[in-house]
């Protein structure tokens, strides 16, 4: 019977199942010895149900998503504008490029105290961090995408007497679009990470980061576990959704083989 079961369950499910089993057994063994750190899974499930019923989880998720969305919008717009400028103009690239690449190396966790100082310990500092995290990949990929548009395409536009607007609309943007999309994709992933990090490091207001933080202090550890699971699931769902969207939007890219 065990052999039949072994064949039925996909191989990829075994390690997590075994870990959960070990966790459950370990938690019950440790329970008698007064260790509060390992909580049994049923307690985690109960905490998840509680958070859902009370609406805490929805509120926190909503706030995190709001910070991701607003930070992404700001950072992506700034990144597109900066990337377009440095990608299209050699002068702008020579002027601003070195500074951009140097600043890019500052880890955004290092900017947390700075943002908190200038924007206050609150939502605007958190959104500011998300904006910065989104800006770099979008700007970088936009500029590289524009620079990579083949010279022969540009020449074609010129020989067709395209106006500047037409040149951008018909040649530059379509040519750079796949890489711009790559930048936006990385930007979105970074936005999600930055939002959680900002909520954890600048504890102000609701959010998933604040939720897992509260698990270590006020609420029990099981709340942290629920929060981590939700964060992971959302990140996974987001990357799947973006991959699907990319496949749909950039169908034409596969056509030229």
């Amino acid at each position: 019977m065990i052999a039949a079961l072994y064949k039925k369950v996909p191989a990829g499910l075994w390690p997590p199942l075994l870990v959960l089993l070990a966790w459950e057994i370990g938690a019950h063994l440790a329970a008698g010895r007064g260790s509060a750190f390992v909580v049994p899974l049923e307690k985690v499930a109960a905490a998840a149900a509680d958070l859902l019923v009370q609406g805490v989880l929805q509120v926190d998720l909503g706030w995190t998503l709001w910070r991701v969305a607003s930070g992404f919008a700001l950072g992506a717009c700034a990144g597109l504008a900066f990337g377009a400028l440095t990608g299209a103009s050699g002068l702008a690239e020579r002027l601003a490029g070195p500074l951009f690449h140097a600043l890019r190396q500052i880890p955004f966790t290092g900017l947390v105290p700075l943002c908190a100082l200038f924007l206050g310990v609150g939502s605007s500092a958190q959104i500011g961090l998300v904006t910065i995290a989104v800006f770099y990949p979008v700007a970088l990929n936009t500029a590289e995408g524009l620079r990579a548009v083949p010279g022969s395409y540009r020449e074609l536009g010129r020989s067709l007497n395209f106006s500047r607007f037409q040149q951008w609309r018909r040649i530059m943007l379509p040519g750079a679009l796949p890489q711009i999309f790559t930048g936006l994709k990385h930007g979105l992933a970074f936005a999600w990470i930055a939002a959680v990090a900002a909520e954890l490091l600048i504890t102000a207001g609701p959010g998933l980061g604040a939720l897992i933080e509260s698990g270590t202090t006020i609420r029990g550890f099981e709340v942290s576990v629920v929060g981590i699971a939700v964060i992971g699931a959302c990140g996974y769902g987001m990357s799947l959704a973006v991959a699907g969207l990319e496949a749909r939007l950039l169908r034409w890219r596969g056509m030229k083989g």
Binding site: P98, F108, L114, I193
Partner: protein
């Protein structure tokens, strides 16, 4: 933060050496002058911003007291350097990074080799791996604190987690990308598994492994700063957070400079260090 993975043109028959073409003396001068001009151009904007910053701070254009002059940031840095605080914080952070990175990156490489070598290991562990790598490393913080306490352990654990995923992911990509023809060649030469790994798979995957190791170290540095902000009594991240709470703006700026400089040093340093092993396959870095 998953790897911004350079797309690799899998050129199986790449020339093993890119001959170092030495510039002829006659051509060298214009190139040096061109580089000098580029450096001057690149320095223009930072210098202008520095002057603007100094003026803004002196005349209090922005937020009273929150903007300190670059001069003061420099003085603070010099002072911290002189009294040893800087060295102490820096050494503490560096130690955590190195220990955690060594453990995390080594585990990541081993995992990638195991998953690349055995279809069974891959089928069993890769699904979990791909789900777990979607969890932002920083979200593991509470878990790490619970499991390892507020001491050194959790910071090193966080760094190890941060180093594990990029190292494993890139190595895995590299190993997966080995052309079947090369593996076939190994088989026809009656290579043992270990020989195939040593002579075929690892050399081919080396550029990707190097990329992974570089990203891992950058990520490690980022995470150690965050972990130190949460709970620490020494370290660059701790110093910055402490200064923020006391509104010591100059120290915060000095901290940003240091974290940025270390990030830059890691990126450039490892790119240069790995160049001998990455150049041959034309990896864009």
């Amino acid at each position: 933060m998953q790897a911004v993975k350079p797309r690799i043109e899998a050129v199986a028959a790449a020339a093993p050496h890119r001959s170092g073409v030495a510039a002829r003396p006659a051509a060298a001068w214009p190139r040096v002058r061109g580089q000098a001009a580029a450096v001057a151009m690149g320095a223009l904007l930072p210098l202008a911003l520095l002057v603007l910053w100094q003026l803004a701070a002196r005349h209090q254009w922005v937020g009273s007291g929150t903007l300190v002059a670059p001069r003061q940031v420099y003085d603070t840095l010099a002072e911290f350097y002189a009294d040893g605080t800087l060295g102490q914080d820096f050494r503490a952070s560096l130690r955590r990074v190195l220990v955690g990175y060594a453990a995390g990156a080594a585990l990541g490489l081993l995992f990638a080799i195991a998953a690349g070598a055995s279809r069974r290991v891959a089928a069993a562990f890769l699904p979990s791996f791909h789900v777990l790598r979607q969890v932002p490393v920083i979200a593991w913080l509470p878990l790490a604190i619970f499991l390892a306490g507020f001491g050194e352990g959790f910071k090193i654990a966080m760094v190890a987690i941060a180093a594990f995923f990029p190292a494993a992911l890139n190595a895995l990509d590299g190993i997966r990308g080995v052309p079947p023809a090369l593996l076939e060649l190994g088989r026809s030469l009656c290579f043992s598994r270990l020989q195939a790994l040593r002579r075929v798979v690892l050399p081919y995957a080396l550029p990707d492994i190097a990329t992974g190791l570089r990203l891992s170290l950058s990520r490690s540095w980022m995470i150690v700063v965050a972990a130190e902000m949460i709970a620490s009594t020494v370290g660059v991240g701790y110093r910055m957070n402490w200064a923020r709470q006391l509104f010591q703006v100059d120290i915060v700026f000095a901290g940003v400079l240091i974290t940025g400089a270390v990030g830059l040093a890691i990126d450039i340093g490892l790119r240069l260090a790995f160049r001998p092993v990455t150049a041959w396959r034309g990896v864009r870095q």
